[in-house]
């Protein structure tokens, strides 16, 4: 590293160097000495005078002239400094020049020197000294502990640079943009920093950047500057970050909250954007199921800031379970993820919460046809922030107000609410602790009474969860980060279905405990590492009554609406599923940072325990069973950047998943189910067509084994209604063409072609997975029309789910119903889904920090009749389709301050 220094050098009578300056030089000129002596008697026997030269008491380092930096050479300026009897510098002259710039810098510095005055026999006297000021360029190696930050700020629409924008970091460093909109802030401590942009040309906006030691972030910030208002002060200020981001996963899609809220069909719900990402199958209308890369919905795990939650969406899929005001971003990783996560055979969804560091009091209130929500956040002290959010649905009330029909006959109308609370305390500059609460509740009721009580049906379901968590996060000076997240909570589900006198009940009340603790940081120049522990325990009490065939499982052959088998049973049981997984991961940077090899390992001992190995005879005690199994899960990902615009990637990983507590019943399942296993293989490439336009393609293959499937035997053994004998495979390719914000537009096109199959028993053939969708195409675009208007379009096409055809029927004379005779398993499909959705929003600026947004979100603009399920006439001689929503307008408004 090159540093610029200026040094003073002595020529005469060096004294003690002031303030560590190498040498202070003093040369009392002959004239000075003569004048001093003249004042004294001139006698040969005159007493010897004691002369003490002046001492430099305060040294001021001269600034190395910027104009001379490029030359890369030093210089020496010889100065004559006049010092009065008080030690003050009264005059500085140049005796030996080194050029105007060096001369001026040396003179300016010398004028600020302060001396202890020269003395003659202890009496202060004025003197003149000669002083050599040396400017030197020194080369020395310095181990850096910081990173650098540079970039440009420009107008989002015109792409023109904006000058005089103050770019400030939360650590206090700041810089002003120059005429080219450029700024530079050196020596930034590693870790996450809030970046704030402010200035006369725009309102204050902020974002977060992650800095690493010895690395430089080159950011491009596109903002909407304030424009001349014409009585319609509705312009918004927004920041769009296009800085290169660190790719954490081989295949993942991250969407920032600011964009996600503008996607048609989401009604402003950030997390609903996940449905539009590549690799995600379209969920059936009203289901909200998350099917990723052909895996079952229960195989994809959802984390909110490291806290596992059982679902991403409320019943019906109308809303997510976290307030959008709290969400910073959402990331979908369909497979091949690293060892920091496990316990799931499918994908991973991680929700990042927005940092709480804003000064003042802020919040929002929103309402639409479906629900209403509110959130507030407050800076209590400099170090303490709190935030609270809540939401409640009223769709059931709206429907009952506008129609006297029993809507529950046709569609489930969910009733839900959720809430979140956060308290964040800043322990130090880069150290925070957060305590939070997440709660969610869903209820759904359907009733379909009939004149014949044997045909009456009803369904009541409930799903609740809550979490209390703490999160400690510290960014150390060496670029490392430590995060510890303990959490606890409950999960409760209940289902009561009746079909005539056949009642199906299934309840699960669980306590969930989790701990995630990890360190991530640099190990040496080319190696970063992650090490930590991921533990989770679920203690469940379950109850089930009714038919073993209800509710249906994936792979069951049945038709929608078919009555459940009338044979019933009953069981109460308890389970404990626990595992603690230490993990380690390294990121080895090779080939001048073009090649990244990221090996990882996760070692996970599982304990699966049930209190009933078999149904006990009446009066006999329960005999339980405990299984222990330790699995080793290697993970590996490799990326190679052929050029700055073209990179290839590949990954492999082994994943395990414990059996569901619901499947461990000795009556309805199998207490000895084993861990299911999946292997993910994927490879792909990324092409940066422009700075903001990227195309990404990923091919994948995943196989699964030890899946729990129904026993095919006509005489299954006791406690073996389910067997771990299913295997599965999914393979395909996904494409993503994504245009980041450019001018008023952003959007993406995603397309997945895939096939997912299951084999339920060794002697059975492969069949299509119930959730298989061969083609899923989504195109999303949002356009800022100006003056606060914004529009968006979304087009979706998805192959219909497979179903098993009915090829005949026989009459059940005992119940007076026809029973279907089925053809080949999952050999037909529901017709494809096609929908065009649109969104139009208008934002009214009410003040510097408050606005109202009114939006119209119209789903299925073309009113296309989309089949969602196959239904049959009572004798199975006619086939029809339940269709999804026709044109469905949702009007909403949101006030934020």
């Amino acid at each position: 590293m090159r540093t610029l220094t200026s040094r003073a050098r002595a020529r005469f009578a060096p004294g003690r160097a002031p303030r560590g300056v190498l040498v202070a030089a003093l040369l009392a000129t002959a004239a000075t000495m003569a004048s001093a002596a003249a004042a004294q008697p001139a006698a040969a026997d005159a007493p010897q005078h004691v002369i003490v030269p002046p001492k430099l008491a305060r040294f001021v380092e001269a600034e190395f002239p910027a104009s001379e930096v490029k030359a890369g050479k030093g210089a020496t300026v010889t100065l004559q400094i006049a010092i009065d009897a008080g030690g003050r510098v009264v005059d500085v002259g140049v005796q030996g020049t080194a050029g105007a710039a060096f001369d001026a810098a040396a003179v300016a510095a010398a004028r600020q020197f302060v001396f202890e005055p020269a003395t003659v026999d202890g009496k202060p006297i004025p003197v003149k000294i000669t002083y050599r000021y040396v400017f030197k360029i020194e080369e020395k190696m310095v181990k850096r502990t910081t990173g650098d930050f540079a970039g440009v700020v420009r107008d989002r629409r015109t792409k023109q640079p904006i000058a005089n924008v103050r770019v400030a970091l939360d650590a206090g460093q700041q810089a002003l943009t120059d005429d080219q909109g450029k700024f530079a802030i050196p020596d930034v401590l590693p870790g996450d920093h809030t970046v704030t942009l402010s200035g006369e040309a725009l309102a204050t906006v902020g974002t977060t950047e992650t800095f690493e030691v010895a690395k430089r972030i080159d950011a491009v910030y596109e903002v909407d500057p304030k424009r001349a208002k014409s009585g319609n002060a509705d312009e918004e200020e927004e920041i769009v970050v296009t800085a290169p981001r660190i790719k954490k996963q081989i295949v993942s899609t991250v969407v920032q909250a600011e964009q996600a809220t503008r996607i048609p069909g989401t009604q402003g719900d950030v997390l609903k954007v996940v449905e539009n990402l590549p690799g995600v199958a379209r969920a059936a209308a009203g289901s909200g199921a998350l099917v990723v890369w052909g895996s079952a919905p229960t195989d994809t795990r959802v984390y909110v800031e490291g806290v596992r939650v059982p679902r991403l969406y409320h019943d019906g899929g109308y809303r997510s379970i976290v307030s959008s005001d709290f969400v910073k971003s959402v990331e979908l990783i369909p497979g091949g993820y690293g060892p920091l996560y496990g316990r799931g055979l499918g994908g991973l969804v991680t929700v990042g919460l927005r940092p709480l560091d804003e000064p003042g009091f802020h919040g929002s209130v929103a309402a639409d046809t479906i629900d209403a929500s509110a959130s507030v956040r407050e800076q209590v002290t400099d170090k303490l922030h709190v935030a609270v959010a809540a939401r409640k649905s009223y769709l059931d009330t709206v429907l009952s107000d506008v129609t006297s029909e029993n809507v529950g006959l046709y569609v489930p109308v969910p009733r839900y609410w959720d809430g979140q609370a956060r308290v964040v305390y800043q322990l130090a500059a880069h150290e925070t602790i957060e305590v939070g609460v997440l709660v969610s509740s869903d209820r759904t009721t359907r009733n379909n009474p009939a004149a014949d009580p044997s045909l009456s049906t009803s369904s009541t379901s409930g799903t609740d969860f809550n979490r209390v968590y703490a999160r400690y996060e510290k960014h150390t000076g060496d670029g490392a980060v430590v995060v510890v997240t303990p959490y606890a909570g409950t999960d409760s589900t209940s289902l009561v279905d009746t079909y005539g006198s056949t009642v199906t009940e299934l309840t699960n009340d669980s306590w969930v405990y989790g701990l995630r603790a990890g360190w991530q940081g640099p190990i040496e120049k080319h190696l970063r590492g992650s090490v930590g522990i991921d533990g989770e325990m679920q203690v469940s009490s379950l109850h089930r009554a009714g038919s073993i065939g209800a509710p249906p499982r994936e792979g069951d052959v049945y038709v929608f609406g078919e009555p459940p088998p009338s044979q019933i049973n009953y069981d109460n049981w308890k389970t404990v599923v626990a595992s603690v997984a230490p993990y380690v991961e390294g990121d080895l940077s090779l080939a001048d940072d073009r090649l990244h090899v990221v090996p990882g390992l996760r070692l996970e001992p599982y304990v699966v325990s049930t209190n009933k190995l078999t149904p006990p005879p009446p009066g006999s005690p329960n005999i339980g069973a405990t299984q222990e199994n330790t699995v080793v899960e290697p993970r590996l990902s490799v990326t190679y950047a052929f050029t700055p615009r073209v990179a290839a990637k590949a990954a492999f990983g082994i994943y395990h998943q414990a059996p569901q507590p619901e499947d461990l019943s000795s009556v309805f399942g199998n207490p000895l189910l084993v861990l299911a296993t999946a292997r993910h293989y994927l490879a792909g490439a990324v092409f940066h067509l422009t700075e903001l336009l990227t195309i990404e393609t990923t091919g994948f293959y995943a196989n699964q084994e030890n899946l729990a499937t129904r026993s095919e035997s006509d005489s299954p053994l006791v406690a073996q209604a389910l067997l771990p004998q299913g295997i599965g495979r999914s393979y395909g390719t996904q494409f993503l063409l994504r245009q980041q914000q450019i001018g008023p537009f952003f959007g993406w096109i995603s397309y997945s072609i895939m096939r997912s199959e299951r084999k339920d028993a060794p002697d059975l053939g492969w069949r299509l997975f119930d959730y298989d969708q061969s083609h899923v195409f989504t195109a999303v675009g949002s356009y800022d029309l100006g003056h606060g208007f914004e529009s968006g379009l979304r087009f979706r096409f998805a192959t219909g789910y497979p179903r098993t055809p009915v090829v005949g029927a026989y009459y059940d004379a005992g119940t007076a119903t026809y029973e279907p005779i089925f053809g080949a398993h999952n050999s037909i499909r529901i017709p494809p889904f096609v929908s065009l959705d649109a969104r139009l929003a208008k934002r009214f600026k009410l003040g510097p920090k408050s606005d109202v947004e009114v939006y119209l979100d119209v789903q299925n603009v073309t009113n296309h009749a989309n089949p969602e399920e196959i239904v049959y006439s009572p004798t199975y001689t006619q086939r029809g389709y339940i269709t999804g929503f026709p044109i469905l307008p949702v009007v909403g408004a949101r006030y934020a301050w």
Partner: protein, 345 residues
């Protein structure tokens, strides 16, 4: 702002478009079909003999004298099959079918392994196989031996399956509960149609050779009635109730007397693991060769003590002879029916 009417229209449109439009009325008889199968007695123990009768009809009325093929289906139903019986029971000639007989009626002895194949007893095994899982009971505590019914008609073979309720005792519960159950449980008796009225006017059954008359296009309320079974035990009422036995009431229980209406019976409640008193629900299926019913099926659940069930029926607009059937079923698999001829003028 969107008006309330627009909102209402949008919501209603979005909801009602979900309904499939499948126009099929099972109460209208046009082609050969089996409407009901009856076993007499309605509930028997393994090895006991019972007689099967089918109500087979088409658009012209009852089809009599058909060479119906009757088989016991001995294929156990795999747990992976969510239908009521094994798919093999609907396949003529399957190896798991054991012939009972052929003709309008058939009489046969229920297989002696019925309670092992279809009941609470441990299934049969061969060699050193581990015994499998018994069959679960239905909500009334019942188990059923499948009977396959293949009816050759002009439109091809019509396939039906019927479950004969078999007396297998109680699989769960303590020995005291099992003993108590065996003493208190009485086999089911088929229900019987007691009466049928059309807007208050009694209709005469076809079995009596009678013809009833209604006006073309006339809308009437058909009300079927059945026997009022006692709601509590009373010795001498002709019905052997759950708490009556030969010892306590020889008059009613020496030869167990049932009731052709909604009977009371004892059941084992899986949740409370105790014996509970229960009462049958009654279910009515309405059929006619012409005209239209308001509902294909009506009924009463076990808590409803009414002994009638009604349905609206609109006579055809043109004068014709209409065959009308009422099939009565109880919760325990019992079946009864009656046919009527209506001269629509």
């Amino acid at each position: 702002m969107v008006s309330r009417d627009v909102l209402r229209a949008a919501l209603l449109a979005s909801l009602f478009a979900c309904k499939p439009n499948l126009d099929e009325t099972v109460s209208l008889v046009a082609v050969p079909q089996v409407l009901a199968v009856q076993a007499t007695p309605a509930e028997v123990a393994p090895s006991a003999t019972t007689t099967y009768t089918a109500l087979v009809v088409d658009g012209s009325g009852d089809l009599v004298g058909l060479p119906i093929q009757w088989d016991f289906c001995n294929a156990r139903n795999p747990l992976a099959n969510l239908g009521p019986v094994s798919p093999e029971c609907s396949e003529p000639g399957d190896a798991n079918l054991a012939p009972i007989g052929s003709g309008a009626q058939a009489t046969g002895a229920v297989p002696d392994v019925a309670c092992r194949n279809f009941g609470p007893e441990v299934p049969q095994v061969t060699g050193n196989e581990t015994p499998g899982r018994p069959v679960d009971p239905d909500p009334t505590g019942g188990y059923y031996q499948p009977v396959s019914v293949f009816v050759p008609t002009s439109a091809g073979t019509v396939t039906s399956v019927y479950g004969t309720r078999i007396t297998c005792g109680l699989a769960q519960g303590t020995s005291e509960q099992v003993s108590d159950f065996l003493g208190r449980y009485h086999a089911n008796v088929n229900p019987a149609v007691g009466s049928l009225t059309a807007s208050g006017t009694a209709l005469q059954p076809d079995a009596n050779g009678a013809t009833n008359t209604l006006a073309a296009g006339q809308k009437v309320t058909l009300e079927v009635g059945w026997a009022a079974c006692p709601l509590s035990d009373a010795c001498g009422d002709g019905v052997c109730g759950p708490d009556e036995s030969v010892t306590s009431c020889a008059a009613d229980c020496t030869t167990p007397q049932g009731c052709s209406g909604a009977e009371r019976y004892v059941n084992f409640d899986l949740g409370s693991q105790s014996l509970v008193d229960a009462r049958e629900g009654m279910h009515v299926s309405w059929f006619a060769t012409s005209g239209s019913f308001d509902l294909d099926r009506t009924g009463r659940d076990g808590t409803d003590t009414a002994t009638t069930s009604d349905d609206g029926w609109t006579a055809p607009a043109q004068g014709t002879t209409v065959h009308l059937w009422v099939v009565l079923r109880d919760d325990r698999g019992g079946v009864g029916w009656a046919g009527y001829v209506v001269d629509v003028q």
